[in-house]
Each structure stands twice: as C-alpha cells, then as structure tokens.
C-alpha cells in the first residue's frame, strides 16, 4: 500500500482495484462493491433503517419510556391516544406505547433465536448432503421434502400443542418447521461448487472433507443463506405473532405484539387503537426485513444478476 491510500480517493481506488494484492483487499473490495449496489436501492436503505431502528428501540427501551409495560392504571383503562399516552391505554390501563417498545425485545429475541438455530442446522445438513451425495443425500432430502410438504403454521401449531404454550416452545416449534428450506438452498449451492476445480485442488493438496466443507463450501453458501434468513425473518415474525394471537405463544402479561392484538380484539369496534397499533408495529418490522432482504438478494445473490 502506498501513502495515496490514506486519502479518501486513494481508499476508493484501493477498494476498486481490478487486481487486489491481498485476500483482505479482495474481500473488502467485494464488500465495498456490494455496499455500493445496495446503496443505490432506496427501499433497501429504508429496510435497513427500520431494522436498525428496531435494534435501537429494543436496546434503549427503558430510556424511551419511563413507564413499566406491566404497570396497570385501571382508572385509565381503554383511554384514547392523546399527548400524554401517545398510543392510548389497553384494557388493564397499561400504556400501549410502552408495551410496544418492550415488545420489540420479544420480537427481536424470537427472530434471533430462530435464526441461530435454523441457519447452522440447515447449512450443515444441506452442505453435507450435497457434498457427500449418495443415500445420505437421498434420506436428508426426503426428510426436508416431507417437512416442506406441510403448511408451516399448522405444523408449528401442532408442535406447540404438544409442547405446551409458551414463548420458548413457540421458538422451538418455529425452528423445527423452518430449517428445511435452508438445507435445500445449501445443498443446491453445494452441488454447483462440489465439482469446481478449486475444490479438486484443495482435495488433491490433501485437505480433509471436513476442512473442505468448513473452509470452502460453507463460506460460499453463506451469502444465499443470509439472504434467505433475512427474507425469512418476516415470515418468522408473522408466525410468532400468529401463535401469540391464538394464545399459544408468549403468555400474558408479556407485551408480545400478537397477544396484544388478541386482547384488543374484544374492543376493536369502539377502542380501535388497542388492536391496531401493535399490528402496525408487526407490519413495520416485517416490512423492514422484507425490504432489507430484497435489497440484499439483489447485491449478494449472483443468480439474480
């Protein structure tokens, strides 16, 4: 690197170099190109902002509101939105704004838990099936086939009904129904790179299968899995909210958005805000994930280009 790299133009030139001189430069250059593509998509930026907003709200919940999501003021029950209580009060006189803010933590927790269970499982199952092939592949693909042949929500419902209601069980049920598509994607990616020359080269230089899988195959499958995870987040949020709405997910008094809609349902016609506002929160967050996922797919998924 020369001194020119210390000016902004120099950095840009270094990142855009057609022939990178180190691995780090190649990787950073690639990331920079992706970021430039991503930046050109205003909707994706909106999505990114929504998700960053969600993270901030979840982290700063006690700063954003000085009330407790569980504090009841029965005298004020079903109070309409006004300057003091922006989103009004629910049937137990709890501040809906505060509950929605704290609900962001629950939503975020569900999404993160499902993602860290499902993505590695799908990656490992898919890449091993694709890499080794044979009966192993047939069996694994058959299993994912069977899971894919069911409507996801209904299967999750059946799991929850067997496990018992509750947020942990909801997460387990969603994860159990969500992994097969990841295995599919990872397998398809693996099949296309399995016979690539650089894999043969690695094999000939004595790399073990495990090493090839972890240092070559999985990293290459990662970007499509990340895209899929982002696009899937909205679906996960919707299923979790659906379980909450049916009373099978988070239990009261937890400020889970789906459960909040369910409790507001009784007052829908006269106190519209109780059911409407948590629903808007769900919409906003899932829309954010969808916009972000769409944008990521455009820059990360080479098949789309």
């Amino acid at each position: 690197m020369t001194t020119a790299a210390h000016t902004p133009e120099g950095w840009r030139e270094w990142l855009n170099a057609a022939a990178p001189r180190s691995r780090a430069q190649a990787r950073l250059g690639q990331a920079y190109q992706s970021w430039r593509g991503f930046r050109r998509n205003p909707l994706a930026i909106v999505g990114l902002c929504i998700i960053l907003g969600l993270l901030l709200v979840a982290a700063l919940a006690p700063v954003l509101t000085n009330q407790s999501p569980f504090a009841q003021e029965l005298a004020e029950r079903l109070r309409a939105p006004d300057g003091e209580h922006w989103f009004g009060m629910d049937e137990l006189g709890r501040d809906i704004f505060t509950r929605i803010i704290y609900g962001a933590r629950i939503t975020l927790m569900i999404v993160v838990l499902v993602a860290i269970i499902v993505a590695p499982v799908g990656l490992i199952v898919g890449t091993t099936a694709g890499y080794f092939g044979g009966w192993f592949d047939v069996v694994l693909m058959r299993v994912t086939d069977i899971f894919l042949a069911f409507p996801r929500l209904i299967l999750a419902l059946a799991f929850v009904s067997a496990l018992g209601p509750g947020i942990e069980n909801a997460v387990i049920a969603i994860a159990l129904t969500a992994w097969p598509p990841y295995a599919r994607i990872a397998r398809a990616e693996t099949l296309t790179i399995r016979n690539a020359d650089f894999i043969s080269a690695a094999r000939m230089s004595g790399a073990s299968s495990l090493r090839i899988l972890f240092s070559h195959v999985i990293p290459l499958c990662l970007s499509s899995v990340i895209v899929r995870v982002t696009l899937d987040m909205a679906g996960i949020i919707l299923i979790a909210a659906g379980l909450g709405f049916l009373g099978l997910g988070a239990q009261p008094p937890s400020p889970e958005w789906g459960a909040m809609i369910a409790s507001g349902r009784k007052f829908l016609l006269d106190q519209w805000w109780v059911a409407t506002l948590p629903g808007l929160a769900i919409c906003t967050v899932s829309l954010g994930f969808n916009l972000l996922g769409d944008g990521l797919r455009d820059v990360l998924d080479p098949k789309q280009q």
């Binding site: 909707l43 058959r142 299993v143 086939d145 069977i146 899971f147 042949a149 069911f150 409507p151 996801r152 929500l153 209904i154 299967l155 419902l157 059946a158 799991f159 929850v160 009904s161 067997a162 496990l163 909205a234 679906g235 919707l238 909210a241 659906g242 709405f245 049916l246 009373g247 099978l248 789906g258 809609i261 349902r265 829908l268 016609l269 519209w272 059911a275 409407t276 629903g279 769900i282 919409c283 899932s286 829309l287 994930f289 969808n290 916009l291 769409d294």
Partner: protein, 342 residues
C-alpha cells in the same frame, strides 16, 4: 391420450405415486411423533390428570402405549388409513365426522380467495413486468411486499373495522346471518353452490356478503405471492429469443405479451397457484378465528386451546393430505400443459 399410454409416462407416474406415498408416510410419522413422543406423557393428555390409576392403565393398553414405538406407529398408520382419528374430547364426536362437516366451509373460503388472487395477481404481475422499473412495477412491488409483511389476522380485523363497522359494505363474522341459519339444505356443504342450485338467491346474497371479506383478505395474500411470481417469470420470458421472433413477425405488443410470453409463464405458474392454495389453507387457521368462520381452521384452533390432541392431529393430517393432493394435481396438470414434459 397418446401421452397416457407411453412407457415413459407410466414410469414417471410410478415415481410420482411412490413419492406421494412416501410423503404421506412422512406426514403420519411427524404427526405420530407430535402426538406420542413430544408430550412428556401422552396418556395424561388423553385421560386428564385426575383419572384414577385403573383408568390410566386401561387406556394405556387400549391405546397400545405398552407396545414398542414402531408397533404403535404401525397401529396408528393402519387407523389413519381407515379414517380413524379417534374421538374429539371437545365435541365428543368422531374426529373424521367433525372434519368432513367443517371442511366445505374452508374449501369455499380458500377457493374463492385463490380465484381472486389469480384473476387479479396474474394481470398485475404481467403489467409490472412489462413496465419494469416504472411506477406500475413499484406499486406492484410495494403491494407484494406489504402482503408478505402484514399479519393475516390483523388485516382481517382491520377489514372488519373498516368495511363492516364503519362502511357497512359487508356482513360481519360468521358464515350466514342468524336468519339464514340452516336455511339452505346442505348438498355439498358449500353454501354458495347449494343456495344457487336451489334457487335461494336471498340466502346466496347473504352468504356472499359474509364470504367476500375473509376471502378478500386471504385473496390479497394470494395476490401478493402470485403477482410477484408472475412478474419474475414474465421478465425471464420476455428476454427469450422467441419473443424477438414474435416481434419480428409484426405482432401487436398485446399479442406478444399476453399470448406468447404469458403462454409460457402459465406452465410454471400452475405450481405457484397450487402452492398459494396450500398456503391459503394455512392462512384460514388464523382468518377463520378472526371471522368466526366455522371451517377446519377454527376447528383446529378450538381443539388446540383445549388440548384436544386427536382433533388437532386429525385436522393437521387432513390439511397435509389436501396439500399433498394439490401438489400432485399441479404435477399432473403441469405435464399436460407443458408440451415438453414427457
């Protein structure tokens, strides 16, 4: 007809039937595991926690829970194939009877929703693809993404709030008004059909006003999915060489798009429509709860809330069977629509 008799087709069909059978066994295995293995004590769910020890033991033997798991699975499979899902604790009816009674309502809802989704979603997707990057495309994108982001139960509630409570354009929850309860003699159980056949137009109108909002809500999700898929298939087809050929021939743009490109899009679209129909069955679980629609979805959720496992699993298997059936149908249709399929 020639196609049906060819050996390649026969071989393919065998493979198809085998794969369907395997999926079905998988469905049973999963529901079996959910019913017998996942709960800590499946018996407790069946007899309740206050049953005396003798009852507990008797039911244990009755259900075959003293046998090894694989034998239990075999018994379970035989029973299900015979249509025996056991009795519902909640309704104390045979589960199969319950399911057959409530299923037409769900069928009616999902079918109308799919019709709405296809008849609006396909043209919408085509227009978006033709105007790629311009405002109709952006509009379609936003409508599609919203469809992927809105909770179906919430949209149903908002629909009720706006179109029923505020505007009064549609009827409220339920399948018919009280005045029309048991008014139409059931033939198929699909009220729109039954009332039309019997010339009961008043009942038809009432049923339609009840049906249109839940079907519209579900149809929106179908529209979101179908229009997005149509758009991406269409964009791919419009890049093909045969489209250039059609333009070289001097055909009108309308003919190039709606006949040539869409003709090719119809082939993969069949699978998409089947998938969306399956997804709607899933959507009905939540929609029926919101609209108090007496279908399979409401039956499943009611059973869930009272931990009525026989009914839940029966309903799950039923949805699974319909799902498999639709996929099979789309596979077969695909072979007939696509001249390249052997």
């Amino acid at each position: 007809m020639k196609k049906l008799l060819s050996p390649a087709f026969a071989k393919d069909s065998t493979r198809l039937v085998l794969s369907v059978a395997l999926t079905f066994v998988g469905l049973l295995l999963v529901t079996f595991l959910i019913g017998r293995v996942v709960p800590i004590d499946p018996l407790l769910a069946a007899v309740g926690d206050r049953a005396p020890a003798e009852v507990y033991e008797r039911v244990r033997v009755e259900l075959g829970l003293d046998k090894p798991l694989w034998q239990q699975f075999w018994i379970y499979m035989v029973k299900v194939v015979q249509g025996d899902f056991g009795r519902s604790v909640l309704t104390s009816n045979v589960v199969l009877d319950d399911i057959l009674r409530v299923f037409p309502a769900t069928l009616e809802l999902a079918t109308l929703a799919t019709l709405l989704g296809v008849s609006l979603g396909v043209p919408f997707g085509v227009i978006a693809a033709v105007n790629q990057g311009r405002w109709p495309d952006q509009l379609a994108r936003v409508i599609g993404l919203l469809g992927y982001s809105v909770p179906v139960f919430w949209l149903g509630l908002m629909g009720l709030l706006l179109f029923y409570a505020k505007l009064g354009w549609v009827a409220g929850p339920g399948r018919v008004s009280v005045a029309f309860d048991d008014y139409v003699t059931p033939i198929t159980g699909v009220i729109l059909f039954d009332s039309a056949v019997q010339g009961e137009w008043e009942a038809f109108g009432d049923a339609f006003r009840h049906l249109i909002l839940p079907a519209g809500v579900l149809g929106y999700f179908s529209l979101a999915y179908i229009s997005r898929m149509t758009r991406s298939f269409m964009i791919e087809q419009l890049r093909q060489e045969y489209i250039v050929t059609a333009r070289v021939k001097g055909l009108s743009e309308a003919r190039v798009i709606w006949r040539h490109a869409l003709g090719n899009v119809m082939v993969p679209l069949i699978t998409v429509i089947a998938l969306s129909y399956g997804n709607l069955l899933e959507g009905t679980v939540l929609t029926e709860t919101v609209f108090a629609w007496p279908g399979l979805g409401l039956y499943i959720t009611n059973s869930l809330l009272s931990a009525d496992m026989n009914a839940v699993l029966g309903g799950t298997i039923m949805v699974g069977i319909v799902f498999i059936g639709i996929n099979l149908l789309s596979d077969v249709l695909y072979r007939f629509v696509d001249p390249r399929a052997k």
